[in-house]
Symmetry: C2
Amino acid sequence: MTKSTNKASVPGFLAHGVSAGIKGGKQKDLGLIFSTIPAKAAALFTKNTFKAAPVLIDAERIKRGMAQAILTNSGCANAATGKEGMADALAVSAAAVRQLKIPEEHLLLCSTGVIGKRLPVRKIESGLGKLVRGLNEFGIEDAEAAMMTTDKYPKIAVRKGIVGAKDITICGIAKGAGMIEPNMATLLTYVMTDALIDTKALNTVFHQAIDLTFNAVSVDGCMSTNDTAIILANGLAGNNPLERAQARLQRFREMLTDVLAELAQAVVKDGEGATKFITVVVEGAKSKSDARRVAYSVANSNLVKTAFFGEDPNWGRILAAIGASGILLEKEKVSLSIGNMTVFVQDAPANLPPTGLKEIFRDGNIEIRIGLGGGDKSYSVYTSDLSYDYVKINASYST
Amino acid sequence: MTKSTNKASVPGFLAHGVSAGIKGGKQKDLGLIFSTIPAKAAALFTKNTFKAAPVLIDAERIKRGMAQAILTNSGCANAATGKEGMADALAVSAAAVRQLKIPEEHLLLCSTGVIGKRLPVRKIESGLGKLVRGLNEFGIEDAEAAMMTTDKYPKIAVRKGIVGAKDITICGIAKGAGMIEPNMATLLTYVMTDALIDTKALNTVFHQAIDLTFNAVSVDGCMSTNDTAIILANGLAGNNPLERAQARLQRFREMLTDVLAELAQAVVKDGEGATKFITVVVEGAKSKSDARRVAYSVANSNLVKTAFFGEDPNWGRILAAIGASGILLEKEKVSLSIGNMTVFVQDAPANLPPTGLKEIFRDGNIEIRIGLGGGDKSYSVYTSDLSYDYVKINASYST
C-alpha cells in the first residue's frame, strides 16, 4: 500500500469545483464528483431531527445502492428551510442531471453552510454549465476546495494497493472544522474507489470504517443537520469481486479505514481554532458504550479543552470529567496517564515531577489514557483544544 | 416578604472570613458559618464519582440531620487526593472543632479550587484562631468572600417574612463561576435560617428548591467534584414549627426558592467570561426528562453560546442543537422563538425582519422559547454565553 496525495485521481472518476457566487465572493463554492459509469454506492447521514433537504433526498436515493455523481455547495446548508428548501434542492437536482445526462436518482446532493437560509438556486443553476464542462480526472482538489467553509486546509487521502489480484485506488475527501461531533458521519466526506465490490459488502465495510474513524472524533460536541458520508465504487479496477465474508474484503476494509482515519484526524487537526490534537483512549470498560461515554465526557469538556489550549497541566479537570460521565465506576481502579506519565492511580495522585507534565501539555499531539479496570472494552476519541479562535470564528459565522 | 442584601445577618448565626495564605496572597480564603446553637441541617452533594474528601465527610455527618458550623477553604479542592486528602480534611476538622468547642460531627467542611493538590493543612490550622475569634453577626459577607475563586462579585440573597406567626429570615450565599452544571447542587451554596422546622420537612423543601434553581443552571456543562448545598435552620425565630404537608411550609418553600433562584441566577450572570444571561424554556414535551434534554442540548452548545457572545443571529444553531438532543421529535410541531420573535414554526423559518432579531441578540438578557408540541411538560435552564474571557480564565487556572 502506498500513500500519496499528489494529483489525487481515481480511474473512472472526474471532478471539478467552481465559484457560483453563493458565498458572495470568488471562492469556490460549487463542487462535483462524477463517475463515468454508474457506481455502487453507500452512505451514512446525520441523526439530527432537522435533517437538511439534500440529506432527506439522498437518504431516499441511496436506497437503490447506485449513484453516479455528488453535487456539493458550500455557503448555505439548506437546512431548516421547510418545503421551499426541498423544492430548491429538487430544482438544483433537475438542472444538474439535465447537464450530466444521468437519471435523477443517480445524483446525490450535499450542502454545507448557514442553517435556515434559502438556497440561491439561480446562482447554482448558472454555475452548473461551467462546473460540468470543467470535469477532469485531476479535479478532485477543486471539488474539495468548493466544499470548504471555515476549514483552513484541504483534506484529501489516497491509498493504492493490490486487492483481488488488481491495483485499486481509494481516495477520500472531507470538510469539517465546526459543528463536529458526528453521530454517523462528519459534516461531509466522500470516498471514490475503482474497486469492484458487491453493494452489501460496500455498505457493511463503509459503516464499519466510519464507526472506527469519523464517529470517533469531536471538535465541539455539536451534531450538524447536514452530516453526510458517501462512498462510490465504480468497479473499473476489474479486480476479483469483493463480497462479504471474504479475506480480500478485509484488505479493502483496512485501506478504506486508513483513508477515513487520515481524513478524520485531519478534520480534528483543522477543527475551528484547534492548536492541539488530543487522543482520548479509554480502556478496561465493562462495555464499549461505557468506554465511549467516558471518552466523550473528557473530549467534550470545555475545561479540559481550555487547559490544553493554555498548556496548563490541570489534570484534575480530566478526572472530574471522567467522574461526571454518569457510568458506574470503581474509583479505586481508575487510572489516568497523560503522554507517558501516570498522574492518578489507586484513588490517589501519582508522585509527579511537575515540569515533566508541563512539558507534555506543550506538545501539539497529546494522548490521554484512561483505565477503568472493570472489563476489556475500549474506545478512542480524537479531539482538539478550545481556543480564542474557536470563539472568534463562531461569534460571527453567519454575518 | 422584603428583599435586602445590606449587612446580611440571620438571628443566631455568626460568620467570618480571613486570609490563611492558601491562595498565596492576601485574599480571603478561609470562611466560617457558625450557628450559636446546633441547627437542623440538610445537604445535597455532587454526583461526580471523584467526590472530594470534604464531600465524603459531610455526606456521612449530615445523616444525623444536625450541624452547627460550615468551614470553607478556597484555593484547593482537596479532590483526587486519595487517603492523604481524607486525612488532611480530618486534621483540619479536628483543629476546628477544638477551637469551636462543638462535637466533630456538627462541623461540615467544604473546599473549592484546584483538583489534585494536597490541602495546606498547616496554613489552615494557623488561620483558624483568627477566624474563630473574628466570628460576628455581620460576618456573612466575609465568609462569602473567602469562598470565591474566579467569581467576580459576591452572591448573597436575603428574604424576611412572616411564617408560622413569626418573622423569619432566610439568607443564602453561593460561589460559582466555572465547572458549573450541577447535578445536585452548585459548587457551594449555604443557606442560613432562624426558622423552626422539622428535619424531614427541611430536607424535602431544600431538595425541591434546589431542583427548581441550582439544578437548572449551566455555565459550561462541567460537573465538579465538590458541589455542595447546605441549609442550616436554628429555630431561633420561635415560629410555629414547620412540618411536612402544612400550608405554612409552602410559604417557607417559596421564600427559600426565591433566595436560591436569586443565587442561581447570580452564578450564571457571573459565569466565567459571561456577557449574556440566557434563559432556555422548553415547553410541550412528553416528559420533564425530554424537556430537560432539549434545554441542556441548547444551553450547552458551544456554537449557540458563541453566537450569542458574537451577537450573531444564527438561530439555525439552536435548531441544530434541538435536533441533536436525541429525543423523539415531531419536527412539524417544533417552534422556536427568541425574545418576542418566532423564528421557526411548522418545519419552516418564519418571515423575519433580520434587523429585529439582531437587536434581540444585542440584549444582555435573552429568552429562548422552544415548543415541542408533544405534551404538557416543561423545563427551564439558565445559561451564559461563551466568550474569549471563558477561554482566557480557564487556559491558565491552575498555574
